[in-house]
């Protein structure tokens, strides 16, 4: 796709993997000369959001912009001022992670101010999710979400996986569904997102592979660092409540 536009907006179904894709995309951009921003505009999902990995991402060279203070743990439809500046008026590369489905309305509300030459919207698709299993339904969904967000979908991000049960064949088979959708929509598959430990086993895919280092983990799963993002961060309570 040549040099991507400055702002990448990730749209998609509930649980399509936008947040993991956003985090890995932002970490990749952090290798460049200008520190990127990850703008978390998700007010649909109450947790498992980019902001939960903010401390780790800051250390990885990514600025995370999300509602501040107690609002960070709400699902109120707020757009922080710095998020607007990042989307509209700074020079840094930006990845915007929005909530699933109707969460795209936040982009719709800004659509007249976004600069088309500066911005691309990608649709993240996991064909192992219940509502996006077939190319025909995904294409219909893509048109719906583009209308809600009032942007054109410039490409797809294939994110085929079954969580911990993912095998390389799931990735390959799922990718075919996404590629078929892309053909139907007349757009490219911009990335094939693949959990990093599976990248070696899938062979070549006709798309740029984006290795995912998963950050949204349950509290009992090992995270990318010693702390579980979102569930062991400072300020979430000062130790446990004990009685014998």
């Amino acid at each position: 796709m040549g040099v991507p536009p400055r702002v990448t907006i990730l749209l998609g179904h509930f649980g399509s993997g936008k947040t993991e894709v956003a985090i890995s995309l932002a970490r990749r951009l952090a290798r460049g000369n200008v520190r990127p921003c990850l703008v978390d505009l998700d007010f649909i999902t109450p947790f498992f959001r980019s902001r939960d990995a903010a401390a780790w991402l800051e250390r990885e060279g990514v600025d995370v912009i999300a509602p501040a203070g107690p609002l960070a743990e709400s699902d109120l439809p707020t757009i922080p001022g710095p998020a607007l500046r990042a989307l509209l008026s700074v020079d840094a590369p930006v990845v915007a992670d929005v909530g699933g489905d109707e969460g795209a309305r936040v982009i719709g509300s800004l659509a007249t101010r976004l600069r088309p030459s500066d911005t691309r919207a990608l649709l993240v698709v996991n064909p192992f999710r219940p509502s996006t299993r077939e190319a025909k339904t995904v294409a219909g969904y893509a048109r719906w979400v583009a209308a809600v967000a009032r942007v054109d979908v410039a490409g797809l991000v294939a994110n085929p996986h079954l969580g911990p049960a993912t095998e390389p064949e799931h990735v390959r088979n799922g990718f075919r569904v996404v590629a078929e959708t892309a053909r139907a929509l007349g757009v490219p598959v911009a990335y094939a997102a693949v959990r990093q430990d599976l990248v070696g086993g899938i062979g070549s895919l006709p798309a740029e592979v984006l290795p995912l280092r998963l950050a949204m983990r349950a509290p009992w799963e090992p995270g990318p660092n010693a702390r579980s993002p979102g569930f062991d961060t400072p300020g979430r309570g000062r130790g446990g409540f004990w009685h014998g």
Partner: protein, 364 residues
Amino acid sequence: MAIAATQAEPATEALLYKGNEALGEAAVRAGCRFFFGYPITPQSELPAYMARRLPEVGGVYLQAESEVAAINMVLGASAAGVRVMTSSSGPGFSLKQEGISYLVGCELPAVLVNIMRGGPGLGNILPSQADYFQATKGGGHGDYRLIVLAPAGVQELADLTGLAFDLADVYRNPVIVLGDGLLGQMMEPVRFPALRPAPDPPDWALTGARGRPRRLITSIHLAAEALEAHNQRLQAKFARMAERETRWEAVETEGARLVVVAYGTASRIARAAVELAREEGLPVGLLRPITLWPFPAKPLAELAGGDAARFLAVELSAGQMVEDVRLAVAGRAPVEFYGRMGGAVPTPREILEVIRRQLGGDGR
């Protein structure tokens, strides 16, 4: 009312579902065709799923004007003999309590889902297990018991939802599926059984009395002897439920000196902590209640009478289930508690620290 016949939908391959969505699909596959609810985080994906899914199988989704209205719609649908579900979280589930008491009094089956969040009051939208007392001790008025199922993963959310509908019908009593925000929001692979058709209305349902004697469904019994007899019948039913329906999972409890007791999300974390402790050679096991009522008191009592020298209850609350653990252990061993509140969730290492403290010195 005739429910439209639906096409055959076979058992599925593994798909990636959010917990809340899996509750909905499992209900539909169990023959549920009616859902009445009102949105509240962190369970709103369930009504949203039902709004889209139920029309596909000839069912009805209705967003009520309030939780109180929704639970009374559930009562009406259940009286008409159909499988019906409602769901809410914390504050909304509190509003349903009057209707739940009426369902029990009327001996009507229904499946009720509470995806718990931080309380009391509005609290917050983060995961919690502080509605244990409300679910297991009777949140509404009158002497009653409900089977309370506590899944610990997305597949189990689906499996126990199917079971909940069957148990509700067998006992003509509502069944609660008690999860928390984390279970509702997390995604795991899940397989669903084939779609079951909506069952025919049972022989007590209100289906129109033309050509047969009328039927009456009520919870009002004005005379003392009538209401006492009704209560005695209900109590006998609750005793049968307690006798037959207790479910739990024991993990490495054989020979364990310390038994951790935890359900739902807390049990996932506790299990990871027990695995870490076992790697250090600590003699620790986990008992996970799957039914919170009836509570698995008997296996706990047996462990207390055997090798277990201590018990540790872990909950996302100030300590509610721990009271049932203490009743079961009945003073035969110390029962201690560790919990987090307000949406804070402990890590496995945090629990491991408590386990080490408990087994400190010559504890092993």
